[in-house]
Symmetry: C2
Subunit: 227 residues, 2 copies
DNA sequence: GATATGCGAATTGTATGCAAGATAGGAAAT
DNA sequence: ATTTCCTATCTTGCATACAATTCGCATATC
């Protein structure tokens, strides 16, 4: 496949992994050197990531990893909550044995990770659990949207999951979500997923706002990434 | 601003206006000539549009305007329905006088267009009405998502609105939506918006499926735009 | 001392050239 | 007549070169 697409993946992964943090500059020359290519495919990758909202490409002023304001971040979590609850609603309506099994497996993996207090592992398994729900909606377009937003938020979600006791609470919420989907209760599934996601957003916002005056928050002193 | 961004807009507009139809090839050389620039900014514009899902950029094989399969198209409308109903739910919860007035104005414009049977005008005013609802959600990120998907679907929506009597029915549904939002009834607003949007998707799918064997449907003989 | 101004260096935006893969058309073989 | 294979042509992908703008920093001015 073309370089530009591979580079797009590579840069995106680096951002998700936290190697480039929000606000970091992504200058074309050093990326080109790092990956051993010319600036052209780098530019193409950056522009694509910019179009997906992953990074912020400012004309003539270079690209930076997006730095959503606390408000924007809350809006993103709220949107994620709405999209996930839509997935849950459809999953409750259309659940198949395959999708049920996939969710069950992911849930068990989360359980193990939570029992071991392994938050890195839980982070990965949690992602699988949510992705299983996206797929269970049996609407691949909606699922793609959910994946994309989930990825964009992953940097913030990871931080959030480190909070004390959050793992066990998250796990319990997962159980409740699964139960509602299995019961075919669309409304309950939607509500539970909505709250599950939004609580993360709210906690994160609290954390950002709470820490902001004192310590270093990820968004501190940086501007909104308005379009 | 840079050429690439202007070109992106220009090409997107041309697609929305129907100048380039689904399946049409967007070859770099002719676009470059048409806009009087080199291939470089054209490529950059195309890749951005590809990342937004507007067109389909196939490595080494050029870009075409996306051709969603009927299934995919239905999924897109279903997703639109979920996103719009989320906007409606939030709008019902958070309505301000400003947003109320904006929706009212857009609704009146639709009314006039519908009375005159001017479907082109209604198409434009309908868009304004829906965008007013997106804004009334007071979640600018969610609203952006809604705008983007609305744009992607506009080609199909336009065809749909030409259907007989659809204008008047659409207008009545708008009235019901407004009423629910004003009453602060989140559930009702969400349901009405959901149905309003999905009915379009269903009708369109019916149309595509019905016409497909006989006449020329937009998607006829073309492949899914899978990623 | 603080603010404005201008210059040099660094970075981005666009054009052009070339290499490699895709496509179409025809010739050869079955 | 149909299929397969080969070649000529076209198109895309990447590198390089150059132009245009921004940014940092020193100097000048109030």
């Amino acid at each position: 496949m073309s370089q530009a697409f591979r580079l797009k993946q590579a840069i995106e992964d680096a951002v998700i992994a936290g190697e480039f943090q929000p606000g970091d500059r992504l200058d074309e020359a050093s990326l080109a050197e790092r990956f051993g290519v010319s600036r052209t495919p780098i530019r193409e990758a950056l522009l694509q990531l910019g179009a997906e909202g992953f990074i912020d490409v400012r004309p003539r002023r270079g690209a930076i990893v997006s730095v959503p304001s606390p408000t924007r971040l809350f809006e993103m979590f709220e949107t994620m909550a709405e999209i996930e609850s839509a997935c849950g609603r459809l999953a409750a309506r259309r659940l198949t044995p395959d999708n049920d099994a996939a969710m069950e497996a992911a849930h068990r993996a989360c359980e193990t990770a939570a029992r071991n207090g392994d938050s890195e592992q839980y982070y990965a398994d949690n992602r699988n659990f949510h992705e299983a729900i996206y797929r269970a909606s049996r609407n691949s377009f909606l699922a793609d949207q959910a994946f994309a937003l989930h990825k964009r938020l992953s940097a913030y979600r990871r931080i959030q999951l480190r909070a004390r006791n959050r793992l066990l609470q998250s796990l319990q919420e997962h159980a409740g979500i699964l139960e509602a989907i299995r019961a075919g209760d669309e409304q309950l599934a939607a509500t539970r997923l909505h709250d599950h996601v939004l609580v993360q957003g709210e906690r994160f916002s609290d954390m950002v706002l709470g820490l902001s005056p004192a310590g270093q928050s990820p968004a501190e002193g940086r501007r909104e990434t308005a379009k």
